[in-house]
Subunit: 244 residues, 2 copies
């Protein structure tokens, strides 16, 4: 926790930079011994800013429910975050993090049908214009949103997937009912960007947060693509783990 400089005149307010750093420190376990954030005056000294700026940062974290200030005592840590999300040939949402939380759930936000764009067609190895089922889903762990995903499935094979998914809450089960006993992850692409409006709403993020974006292709056991998805994860809540 040395070298705590913040940058000025960058378009990112100091209080937000500091809030992000403190959140990262909390998640890293830096304050586990006391269960408290250092005093505002100490943080102000550490970051080289006014105490009021620290208070703005802590207020943002309190708004997120991560800390709670108690007058006279200090600022208590309420909640730590960051799930480890494994990426492997058998990547599935619930299985990977099932042992890290009490309950995982997946919710269907919206379903529609559309024609494959050139980009989607290339990914799914079909011809442009082929009908696709599009699902918008939200992944939750212990009732807290972790990821939001858009998935596309060829409509000829999986036209009914929305209904089945809505009742079971599981892609794996839906595939099974539709004649795909098993499927594997072919490739995952990972990038990072700032949270957009939808991320803020669905993932309950604070503005300016970072999201990890995973674009994934799943195929059945005959290596025929069955699902292309773009998932957005709150970068503060997850880490990806690639086991080789």
């Amino acid at each position: 926790m040395a070298g705590q400089k913040v940058q000025r005149q960058t378009g990112v307010a100091l209080w937000r930079q500091i809030a992000d750093r403190i959140r990262t420190s909390i998640n890293h376990g830096d304050f586990d011994e006391t269960g408290m954030v250092p005093p505002e005056t100490a943080l102000a000294l550490q970051f080289g800013v006014n105490r009021h700026t620290i208070r703005s940062a802590l207020a943002a974290l309190a708004q997120e429910g991560i800390v709670r200030a108690v007058q006279g005592r200090g600022t208590l840590i309420e909640r730590k975050e960051r799930l480890s999300f494994p990426i492997s040939r058998r990547t599935r949402f619930s299985q990977g993090i099932g042992d890290q939380v009490r309950e995982t759930r997946s919710v269907l936000l919206a379903a529609s049908e559309e024609a494959a764009s050139p980009d989607l067609a290339r990914q799914l190895k079909i011809s442009t214009g082929t009908r696709l089922v599009r699902l918008e889903t939200l992944g939750q762990a212990d009732h807290r949103p972790v990821s939001r995903a858009t998935s596309w499935f060829p409509a000829d094979r999986f036209g009914a997937i929305a209904e089945i998914y809505r009742t079971t809450g599981s892609i794996t089960k839906a595939f099974r009912e539709l004649g795909v006993p098993d499927y594997v992850r072919v490739v995952t692409e990972i990038t990072a960007t700032h949270a957009d409006e939808g991320d803020l709403a669905d993932l309950q993020l604070s503005p300016g947060a970072i999201v990890l974006v995973a674009q994934a292709l799943n195929a059945d056991l005959d290596n025929i693509p069955v699902q292309y998805s773009i998932s957005r994860f709150a970068a503060d809540r997850v880490r990806f783990t690639v086991e080789n």
Copy 2:
């Protein structure tokens, strides 16, 4: 490119949010037909902000060398970025992106020796306090910095690795000279955060940029850990690809 709302009073200035979005659009190829960014007035309408705010965003991108404004004509796209960085059992810096750029290079920034912290010891499966060689390196593609990394190696086996690396510029070759003919990636953890001071300097980033952080463990063919590294990539310049 619809739904272009930006958030106010979030601690992230509008011009920075917009600069990030435009950069992403450029990298995505949205303006490839014209080779130009839309006119400032059009962007102002699209994002729902004043033209001056758009100008601030474009000025930031011009500062990065991504666009160049020409009075009377428009704003030209100078450079697109984003390398695909494969992560697999045989992940190496140069091999993966070698076919995407003309030249890859790796530069040694600093070398030192230190005792293993409890965390490092756990990762490398050694006892706390064991001597480690620590290397700070910078990965370049076509003379542009792509990643900065800190690596640790057990000093008993690899005490001379700094010298060999300095001359060869290759971890693979250095390992070979030190009796490790081959090595594999055991696990990679991927997170994302805001760029820190060192990122700004070494990776020539604009303040407020996002970095992808990859923590990786390499082992020799006897499955004995030989290297633990933390690499930081400019999120705008790379995407990770996990092939399964």
